[in-house]
Subunit: 189 residues, 6 copies
């Protein structure tokens, strides 16, 4: 499943940037990212619209399976993470997923659901959420995000796998565990 | 295919409104449309977030075929139309579609593509575009739109099927055809 | 009338771009389009504000009549069209205009009005609208648009005059007419 | 002239509010201010779109002269002021105007121009600007503002005519003049 | 330190909401939250501006120390967290703080700094960040946030302390530790 | 006090621009102003995020007193002025300030307050406001502004000290005083 998300994002980020074209008010019919430009604005600058080709609006291969041979049993993202810049709408095409998100402080309420083929679920922007394949076979889903560069923050990697590491005294206090557990967690990422 | 679009929009419009929650800057984790309220802002007002349930973020049935027995050979939208309030990202799950959009004046360039399973195509906000099933069987696609109420303007219906009708002298001049042709077109819608 | 619109847009697009200066939050007193730059963002980049001259905020000639010797009996736009990126406020200075716009699906309601000197009418962003001189003499009006590059999509040109053409089988189905009528329409544009 | 501005603003504020309909992203074809509602959002709430009438988009009487028998020789605004929420585009229909605006600190540069019939000038949002009739007869102009409630802050009234008054020691220091001059100025407003 | 943040947020959320007044384009001089209203938009509706009092723009007590007798040695927030809706600018008034944030995937770079009196640091919106008092005495700082309801997601609480709990199999996989460690962590929150 | 504001703004404008990073929708974790670039967008372009250093998010020296030996008894801003692009939140750290702002036409109401240590006051975007030290010693305050380039328009300088000058006949009429008083005022700035 998750590798579809990855591919999808790639499409939006590198192939076809609509940032300036619909955020907030477009001044052009469209803005195609000029990946050859070194100028950096919010995203990248636009190609000359007159040079636009159909392929600038096109991406293929979303039906190809991705390599999921890793510790998550998935090539992509389903451990708890946030998309700091996008709301996500997930549509399940095959299999069964258990998904959920947690509201912000002080409530920290888990809102979760078991999804089957044809089900759709919305993950609000910025909240910690996860998706887990709880069926017997593969799960396939498509994630639509409300930004072409939503950003991904995998909690485990950001907290225990940053480079350099967050000082262990910060983490032992935050998670109220012995330094040994924090060390264990940090060695994993 | 198109009925999926319809259902999808319905989900966004009536079940779960994120308008105020991510356009432009959210002040809440999420905003669930309170369809019982008569107050009208841009969209509708929000339910009390504390009353949010998983089902407020959930929709099912996207895998069920829709009734396509109509003059378009489709229950939904594929004749030339605009989505005045959204960019559309279309993902083909099954079948073959010929799709395209036309840039604004003075260029009016048609940018089109033949899409197969796994292909994705982007239709910029506000431009006239169409999707056509050119395969032998059904086509299934999912459309993600950048607004939960993108609006749909079917050109033929808006121009020749408005209520009341646009005066025929306006249309004969605009399309440079005899009144008889305009009358013919208007009787269809 | 319509040529005034054209001139007006030209002013906004090419002479004095306020895109970045008030969409969405300005960071400068103003942003004057640097038409000499090849860099393309949403619109164009700004000139150095220190080099701003009064003429950068100035345009003249709006009182000069335009050439209206063409098939529309107008040099400009009054056949059904959309402005995908702007709401339009039209003020009639001379003559009599019949104007209207059509709401989106499923209602497709025509909201129209006969305008005299001193009348003002608003055309909501993205909706199909038209303006027609129904008086005996010239009509003069000024259109203010909520974007300096609102874009114009003339329905007849976009649907029947695109380059390349939209395949006739798409149009015959969409407008439910014989290919001969579609061919007739396509030859006009 | 200025009374046209006044009437124009009134139209936008009280008759037909498009705030939520195009700021920032519309979710409806349009939003007509429901002046009967006591609910206050950013502006007012919308009427049920199904109840929209052509008159909701219409205003008349912009050609009628206003009463200009006051100390400014004008019913409206031409002394130095700011529109805190709108850029203004002024189009001269009759007469001769001397207009200008002052850039922000530290430059405080005056950018001014003599305008004749058919001339257009842009006043950037938030900057102090003025318009003065320097011809022999009446001047008529139309001001288009980029917000339906731009707000008006007449410098003289805000600084010397507020209610209650700004303490004179604040003003004597700010303007570096004797209290007598400040008192004189405050009695005028 | 952190209790100042808490108080600060309270001020912004409950006392004086500027959401609609400057996000995105204000239509009023200001919007004061009407906490008596049950209507919910993005935040709450506005009081009648005519009823505005100086106290609506006022808050006091930011100099009073808060109770910091808790497991964090602080009444407030300094363990790793995100503000999903605001960029934070922290100004140190007293003491010494070690602060940092982690960039999003795939880089997950820790950007950190030791702050002394008079130092200012910016934490970009949505990223995981922390603040730690590493001096011998109290630390006092003021946090300015770019939203009046930035939201706070304490990672430890959201991931290990949600209600109901995130299933431990999701967490054991995500953090690659034994269920016993996950159980330990979950019992803390 | 005011010199803190000056330093604060300098920090935001020249050292670390977040314009594109949170106005309106970020597409990057952050955008650090590239002050070496000559390209001008709304503010300046971004440095390559990979080159970001902690110092790009850091500023120091806010605790150092500024030189206040000038006619205002302050190095900075406290005479009546507007911040055309930002709402200001002022926090008093030491001393006593009398502050206020004036609402727009036609009300022009002064909303003012005496502030002590620990008090906070909000000045709505675009409105004329002032801050005055009415205590016996120094006053120290921190101003947080909702834009990294809020702009400052000192009324006295903009109206009586522009370069070139606003014609005195405009000012005599606007302020209803003799030319001699206007001349006196203009010589001061």
């Amino acid at each position: 499943m998750a590798n579809h998300i990855i591919i999808f994002l790639s499409l939006l980020v590198f192939t076809c940037s609509f940032a300036l074209a619909f955020e907030p008010s477009p001044l052009q019919d469209f803005c195609i990212a000029d990946s050859t430009s070194s100028a950096r604005v919010n995203g990248v600058v636009c190609k000359d619209p007159k040079l636009a080709q159909a392929n600038d609006f096109f991406f293929s291969g979303l039906h190809l399976p991705g390599n999921t041979s890793n510790f998550l049993g998935s090539k992509g993202l389903n451990s708890p993470h946030t998309d700091p810049r996008a709301t996500e709408i997930l549509t399940v095409l095959e299999g069964t997923l258990y998904v959920g998100f947690v509201t912000s402080n002080p409530e920290n309420r888990l809102i979760s659901k078991l999804l089957q083929k044809g089900d759709v679920f919305v993950f609000p922007i910025g909240l910690v959420h996860f998706q887990r394949n709880v069926g017997y076979g593969n799960a396939v889903a498509i994630a639509a995000l409300s930004s072409q560069n939503p950003g991904i923050i995998t909690i485990a990697n950001a907290v225990f796998g940053s480079n350099p590491s967050i000082p262990s005294d910060v983490l032992t206090k935050a998670f109220q565990v012995d330094k040994s557990i924090v060390d264990t967690l940090q060695t994993k990422f």
